[in-house]
Point group: C2
Chain length 423, copies 2
């Protein structure tokens, strides 16, 4: 059951707070963030107690070990969260930046001023550190935030939200700028997605089901992403030794995240040499190969590998595990075609020494990040120098790729007149 009045009230309080937060000075916002960090460390015990209750319930409900590990907080992890908040405090404040200020022929001085969006609703799943991540990025960028985490971490999130609100109050920022929705029923999300007069942006973070639900039901603009079906095309001219190293890194270094490699496309001219070399290296990490008709016989000869004939569903699949689809292609055109067909618009890479193919790939692939001779794992807010990220957008509207502070802002046109009228 959703108490819509109660929900509406929280969102309205956030909206009201967002108006103050929009022109709160950097010094005050940073002070609030440093207070959050301080309180996370000071209230360490309280957070651990709440998290243990969440953990015990989740374990009793039969949650997988991998998920349980995501849910678990430790003193070290809490300290890590505090450090992340301090990192956000140290980032430059995007708000107030003046862009393209110039004077028109009629003497009007105009430019764009970067402003906050207003109220951001974050709908996310299990990891409790996301609560602090999102809250700190929103505060720094002058946005109020509605936090709607998963039910598995409700008690952890309650304590974390209380700490955040206390820190805001202490710094003189309206505490209502951070609102935790404690009702974890999915119908609450449906109601939130209708509140377009008070919520300016919805950011879903989680699995494909959650993202699809939000996209299908939101009347509010959504910036979504996180689904990364990443390809790497190994061209005929690639340095094969280096290519094995890059493919290994992209697949193995952290297979459970969205920028990990899913499908390797190999030019036919080097397939007989590259595919076995790659497979032997990746096999050391226990990678399972889902092979197309051309690569399967090549690897079948080797023995000792985990081989599966690829099925249709393997192309365009985000594995999030030590599985890799392997396909031999005839040309760079065939690789481009495959990526256009099966990519999710996240990260695509070519490994090549051919200048023209590199340029074509950069120009023609339509994705948030397109790379030459680098691991897809680099698509990340910290790696790209944004300091932190709220997620990775795979859409083209508003912001694409890692969502840093600037990506959750808007702008307004500022016009300094001298009593001009239009003729």
């Amino acid at each position: 059951m959703v108490d819509i009045d109660e929900l509406q009230k929280k969102v309205c309080l956030a909206k009201e707070a967002s108006r103050k937060l929009a022109y709160t000075t950097t010094a005050v916002k940073d002070a609030a963030l440093l207070q959050i960090a301080r309180r996370l460390r000071a209230d360490n015990e309280r957070i651990l107690v709440a998290n243990q209750l969440d953990y015990a319930d989740a374990k009793a409900s039969g949650m997988s070990d991998a998920m349980l590990d995501r849910l678990l907080l430790t003193s070290e992890r809490i300290d890590g969260m505090a450090k992340d908040v301090e990192t956000v405090a140290a980032l430059p404040d995007p708000i107030g930046e003046m862009l393209d200020m110039h004077t028109l022929q009629n003497g009007l001085q105009i430019g764009k001023k970067r402003v906050s969006l207003g109220v951001i609703a974050a709908i996310y799943e299990s990891r409790p550190n996301v609560t602090i991540d999102i809250a700190s990025l929103c505060i720094k960028s002058g946005n109020a935030v509605i936090l709607r985490g998963g039910k598995e971490t409700l008690r952890s999130n309650q304590v974390l939200a209380e700490i955040t609100q206390a820190a805001l109050r202490e710094a003189g920022v309206p505490a209502a700028a951070v609102q935790l929705i404690e009702n974890t029923d999915r119908s609450v999300v449906s109601e939130l997605l209708k509140m377009r007069d008070t919520i300016d942006l919805v950011i879903p973070r989680g699995g494909e089901g959650l993202i699809k639900f939000v996209r299908d039901n939101s009347l509010i603009p959504v910036v979504a992403g996180g689904i990364g079906v990443c390809h790497t095309f190994v061209d005929a001219s690639a340095n094969l030794e280096k290519a094995v190293h890059i493919v290994y890194n992209a697949k193995v270094q952290r297979p459970t995240v969205c920028n990990a490699l899913d499908t390797v496309l190999v030019h036919k001219d080097i397939a007989q040499v590259f595919v076995p070399a790659m497979a032997q290296e990746l096999n050391k990490a226990g990678v399972e190969f889902h092979c197309d008709g051309a690569s399967l016989p090549i690897l079948g000869k080797l023995g000792g590998l985990r081989l599966v004939p690829a099925v249709d569903a393997d192309w365009g699949k985000e594995f999030l595990s030590l599985a890799l689809a392997v396909k031999v292609v005839d040309s760079v055109d065939a690789a481009l075609e495959h990526i256009a067909c099966f990519g999710s618009g996240h990260t695509e890479a070519i490994l090549t020494e051919n200048y023209t193919n590199a340029q074509r790939f950069l120009n023609e692939v339509d994705a948030a990040a397109v790379m030459v001779n680098a691991s897809t794992r680099f698509t990340d807010g910290s790696q790209f120098g944004l300091g932190a990220e709220l997620g990775i957008s795979t859409q083209k509207m508003h912001a694409r790729g890692p969502l840093g502070l600037k990506e959750i802002t808007s702008y307004k046109w500022i016009v300094y007149g001298n009593w001009q009228a239009r003729s």
Copy 2:
């Protein structure tokens, strides 16, 4: 009845064409635009014949004179359309611009490259010149476009779309990049709004009903605007003579457009002097005043004015006519509060000599354009130097204010590596 297969086919053709158009050179796109301009002039007669048929039907159906005038094309207007296309051809191409290219500590060279969005669906009403406006801006920015105009101008739009497609073919650009939807049933719009895999952006242009329908029903990102409830606050320190001039211009110069003034807020300290002076000047143009309780008695004494006591619905109303709501406020705070409550996020202005009030207004008002001592009529793509506009966005996501060429683009991250792997 909607033939969904037929519709889907057109949209898919546009998507396919958009992939070519995305990296068509500026020279080729400009050649296509100049061909459109040439053909508009050469096919002048054919356009006029089609338009006369539309006009006759519209007249027979009882369309108002104002609407008939918007629908009507003449040789001069067609020449004006051709000139507008030439203007777009002469604008700098936004596509391919590299933003923030820099080298990371690990040697990766990264930056953002401006790219087209893909396929834009424009849903609009009556004026046939909009067909050419939108098509030319989309072509220049490398986007394919689905045109869905009103039924009143269908025959004019058919000829204009044919001319555009012929020009594209002649220049070697896929003609499928411009698709006219000839079925003018509203259910077609509903179907288009579901096609999020092929359409990247929907731009509704028209009345409030159309915009609301699109927003309520679209699964695709929408950039909407056009509803302008514009306020001008005349502060106690304003130069009253200049203020009358600005208010006159904002209200009278072109009352039927979105950046025309709707409500004037007058500081109480100057109301007894300013309100009559303003009213007498605006009365010359036939303005009708919708007065609050404080301004009504002031103007009632004068005689000869068109006065109406303001009703609740007058606050936040976009008049689009020679009507002006007048309200006396106690302070800059009261003015800010009124605007926060009733503004539509389009354009808001303060007339003042008080530096602090000017700065507060610029900081605190949340609108696409915020002005000091200038007419709200300046919020416009041409006036702001964007060269042309697709509309004016009153939302905060993606683009705000006038939508020029850059505002209908996205970007992708480009990464030039040197065989880096993530550690």
